[in-house]
Amino acid sequence: MLAAGLGLAVAGLMSTARAEDVIKIGEINSYSLLPAFTEPYRKGWQLAVEEINAAGGINGKKLVVVSKDDSGKPADAQTAANELVSSENVAMLAGTFLSNIGLAVSDFANQKKVFFLAAEPLTDAITWSKGNRYTFRLRPSNYMQAAMLVEEAAKLPAKRWATIAPNYEYGQSAVAVFKKLLSEKRPDIQWVDEQWPPQGKIDAGPVVQAVAAANPEAILNVTFGADLVKLVREGNTRGVFKDRKVVSFLTGEPEYLDPLKDETPEGWIVTGYPWYSIKTPEHDAFLKAYQTKYNDYPRLGSIVGYQTIKSAAAILAKAGSTDTEKLIAAAEGLAVPSPFGEITFRKIDHQSTLGAYVGKTAIKDGKGIMVDTVYRKGSDYLPSDAEVAKLRPKD
């Protein structure tokens, strides 16, 4: 009976038909865990699929994206990857949000020799210390965002710095690289305090109180999501951010900025996505298409979803085949248009040169926005090729 159950369970999961005139991309993300980011993300890639197929598909074949939820667990992501590769016969894998899931799928891709285009995970490891030839990554990494923010932070007169970051790999590496880069530029800086609230469980009152007690002139913040909201509320009430400069990863992303509404702290130096003030033809076209289709404004997730599938399609089109080796050859050094302007997937580490907008937070009509925004190209904030080669294991 044990086996009968096994057999039935498994039979239900077995693969079915496959058509010859479609190209399938397998997509995985934490839909049920992080709906605030992944809902706009899904809308983004759905728009891309629609545009690609309306323009005739990929080399005459229709593009189909098969999407799976990983429930925020690396083990589930691997089950999904396996299903996509073994029974859906996808040409490549794409997606993922959390760094640990990105790494798990990347390792899977390396093992099974499948092409993987990581969309969102930010960890530097994915293209450097744990990089492999099957994995490419779209978003600007931790290092790149830190370098963009350090450029602004170094201009501040502040010498005493404190940090607040979620206590897991992402927070730890963001703080480490920011500290390293800023101290290199400004040897006169002192690091006076660090706070490591557990991710998703911040007890914001004590944290901001403790930071204030160290009396820093500037604060680096790496928290996001609900933790950020709590931190900002407590900090505002207690006046901790008053007369202090704050540099903050990700806070300008609409996903994290919008919930703050009129609570938005003013003058924070942030990375993000000011969709309301980008005036380029590429972005205008994207914005118009997105708003027409969904009657809603895009979030950063929408850009990531859209560009992931657009890039994947470009790679598939250039390769002219779904053979993994040909896909890698096509992707290395490939230039692709994006709503932020042309990006390139670097040959040396498979990192795309997609950049980010850096600016300051402000309030307009009771809503948080970014002002004084400048687009920073990813390519300008990466270490030298020699250094990258040292960071990355040889294939």
Binding site: M1, L2, A3, A4, G5, L6, G7, A9, V10, A11, G12, L13, M14, S15, P35, A36, E39, S71, K73, P74, A75, Q78, T79, N82, E83, S86, S99, N100, A104, D107, Q111, T123, K130, N167, Y168, E169, Q172, Q195, W196, P197, G200, K201, D203, A204, G205, P206, Q209, G225, A226, V229, K230, R233, E234, T237, R238, G239, V240, P259, L260, E263
Partner: protein, 628 residues
């Protein structure tokens, strides 16, 4: 100095909300003996409903009225849940209510996203408490002062309610001795319902009061539920004063812990809980539970080894399972291997729960330790796969030996909570000791060697190991050791008086269960090619509990069926829908209502009835019952 005082006050403010939620859980448990996993979900619903109401209603009255109405609305939902669902299962085996409320929690998590959308919501600030009070140059939010005052007020109100009203006297009596209250002719039905309503009201109020200081989002429930369990257990189950003191203690630990141990704050409260439970097993203000009057053994159909027909059927089933690689694709085999591994995991917990009567809430710790054992051996020592598979589980055995020595000194919910504390400590170490474990990013690249790499080979390996483990566990169950263990489960006093060294027997069982879980973990590491702290997280422990309860805790083969059904369904749902939690939750709740003894339990009692109908079998079963 002013800083430390303000930090102390901030801790007190956080304690207020925690106390509200924890006291509700404590009251519910005290009377109904339900470990209400859905308490966090009611807390979250309180916040969501309060958000909607306070956004619609204007002015101070609208805000404060909205908070109270929200708590009342959610309490009404609680009453509905109690009447429709829980009333049907009070007589099901212990912990079955946990399964039902877990199913509810899953449903609520998806429902709030469906109703309120995916974005984090920021509520209004409380009218009259928007600013801060200056205290020697430090700012204290006035809302914090309000919360600090609220805590003792609620404590006082609850004290009056329980000491000065007839209802309170009945509730206290039921907390002390439920059977006696029933014997005195009190209508327990409505007593239970009202207690549940009060408990849920407190949880929802705790959630609603969070909106001026927190974002409302769909993961609030899990964030609070574990902390609340900790508070209730430290304070002593059923004790409201205990919940208050423990809430203050935990919040102050959080507030000052970040100053002294900024990076290990996660471990701290679980360490404290473990110490409290080891020193004072019933919590700071708890009392030793009166022994249950119902002997569990009487409700169970006596276990017996498989008959020869059943043996043949099992063999046939196994053969069928072994043929799978000839008919199905790689993905199916991959899923088959995963299910087989979870059969090991569930069987090991089931052994501890059903045979030993020890329900562990932290069984994933040993699964995860086995997986990390493999990772360390393969990555650091560079051992070959066979050696890793054989030695890796020893880390699980070691963990079980150490933690089990403490845990088996306790029983019931306290045992469960101590195992949870140990599991959380192990998880925190894996999560935060980045240098050794890779932290959240885990350890990658643990793929099987060539001989086991192909999906059919790995499937056969997993199936073989599973068959071996399950057979051995069955063998132990029906061995003299198994009988001694069951004797301890059914009556510790009697078994000790005939010379059974009960604690040692239970400790051995704990180590056996930990080792077998470790075997599952070791295989899992190779199946996934990686290990993550997730492998020992709470959700995995809960999964194991669900599998065991689903299959039927009072049966011998229950875990196998529970694991197959739950895991297959889970994988299938996650693959097919984004609302997997909603569907899975509904499924679990339905199962609980329809099969309150678990899937195998229901089948067994059906077979038993049929057998009893035959005259010869009737005589036999009469003999068995006479012997009992």
């Amino acid at each position: 100095m002013a800083f430390y005082f303000v930090q102390f006050l901030t801790g007190l403010a956080s304690a207020a909300s925690l106390f509200l939620v924890a006291s509700g859980l404590s009251i519910i448990f005290g009377v109904t003996r339900i470990v209400n996993f859905a308490h966090g979900a009611f807390y979250m619903l309180g916040a969501y409903v309060a958000f909607t109401l306070t956004e619609r209603l204007s002015g101070a009255l609208g805000f404060w009225g909205g908070i109270v109405v929200a708590a009342l609305v959610v309490a009404a939902i609680g009453v509905l849940v109690e009447i429709v669902l829980l009333r049907r299962i009070y007589h099901a085996p212990e912990l079955f209510q946990l399964l039902a409320t877990f199913g509810l929690t899953l449903m609520v998590e998806d429902l709030v996203v469906l109703i309120w959308g995916p974005d984090d919501l920021l509520g209004r600030r409380a009218p009259g408490f928007k600013g801060a009070v200056d205290f020697f140059g430090q700012n204290i939010p006035s809302y914090d002062l309000f919360l600090i005052a609220l805590g003792p007020i609620v404590l006082g109100a609850l004290w009056l309610l329980f000491q000065r009203t007839r209802w309170g006297i009945l509730v206290r009596a039921a907390t002390q001795d439920r059977d006696m209250v029933a014997a005195l002719g009190v209508n327990q039905k409505w007593l239970f319902t009202s207690v549940f309503a009060v408990g849920v009201f407190l949880a929802a109020l705790g959630g609603a009061l969070q909106i001026p200081r927190d974002a409302v989002h769909h993961a609030m429930d899990l964030r609070i539920i574990v902390e609340v369990f900790v508070v209730v257990v430290i304070g002593g189950l059923g004790s409201i004063l205990g919940a208050f003191v423990a809430a203050v203690l935990v919040s102050e630990l959080n507030a000052f812990g970040i100053l002294i141990f900024p990076t290990i704050s996660l471990i701290l409260i679980f360490l404290v809980m473990a110490v409290v439970l080891v020193v004072r097993p019933w919590g700071l203000f708890g009392r030793k539970e009166a022994p249950a009057r119902r002997t569990p053994g009487l409700t169970v159909i006596p276990w017996r080894p498989l008959s020869s027909v059943e043996r043949l059927a099992s063999l046939a089933a196994l053969t069928f399972a072994a043929m799978l690689p000839f008919v199905s694709g790689n993905y199916a085999l991959n899923v088959g291997a995963e299910i087989a591994i979870f059969v090991i995991f569930a069987a090991s917990l089931h052994f501890l729960m059903a045979v030993g009567g020890l329900a562990s809430f932290g069984h994933a710790a040993y699964f995860g330790l086995g997986a990390y054992g493999v990772a360390f051996l393969a990555k650091m020592a560079g051992l070959p796969m066979i050696a890793c598979l054989l030695l890796g589980p020893l880390l699980g055995a070691l963990g079980a030996a150490v933690f089990g020595a403490f845990a088996v000194q306790l029983s019931g919910v306290y045992f469960a909570m101590l195992t949870l504390a140990f599991a959380q400590i192990v998880w925190s170490v894996a999560f935060q000791w980045v240098g050794v474990t890779g932290g959240d990013n885990g350890i990658l690249g643990l793929w099987p060697e060539t001989w086991a790499a192909s999906p059919p080979h790995f499937y056969w390996l997993a199936l073989g190991v599973t068959t071996l483990v399950v057979s051995v566990l069955r063998l132990i169950t029906f061995s003299p050791f198994g009988y001694a263990l069951r004797a301890m489960r059914d009556s510790p006093l009697r078994s000790e008086s005939i010379g059974i060294n009960g604690k040692r027997i239970q400790w051995t069982a704990f180590i056996i269960a930990g080792t077998t879980a470790g075997i599952g973990g070791a295989l899992f590491a190779y199946l996934k090619g990686s290990v993550f702290p997730d492998n020992m997280g709470i959700s995995l422990s809960v999964d194991a509990l669900v599998m065991v309860l689903l299959g039927g805790v009072e049966t011998v083969p229950g875990a196998i069926f529970g694991a197959i059904v739950y895991k297959a369904l889970n994988i299938w749902l996650v693959s097919k829908t984004d609302l997997s939690k909603l569907v899975l939750g509904i499924f679990i709740v339905l199962i609980v209502v329809v099969f309150p003894k678990g899937i195998v339990g229901v089948v067994e009692s059906f077979m038993h009835r049929r057998r009893a109908a035959a005259p010869k079998a009737a005589a036999l079963s009469a003999k068995i019952e006479g012997a009992q």
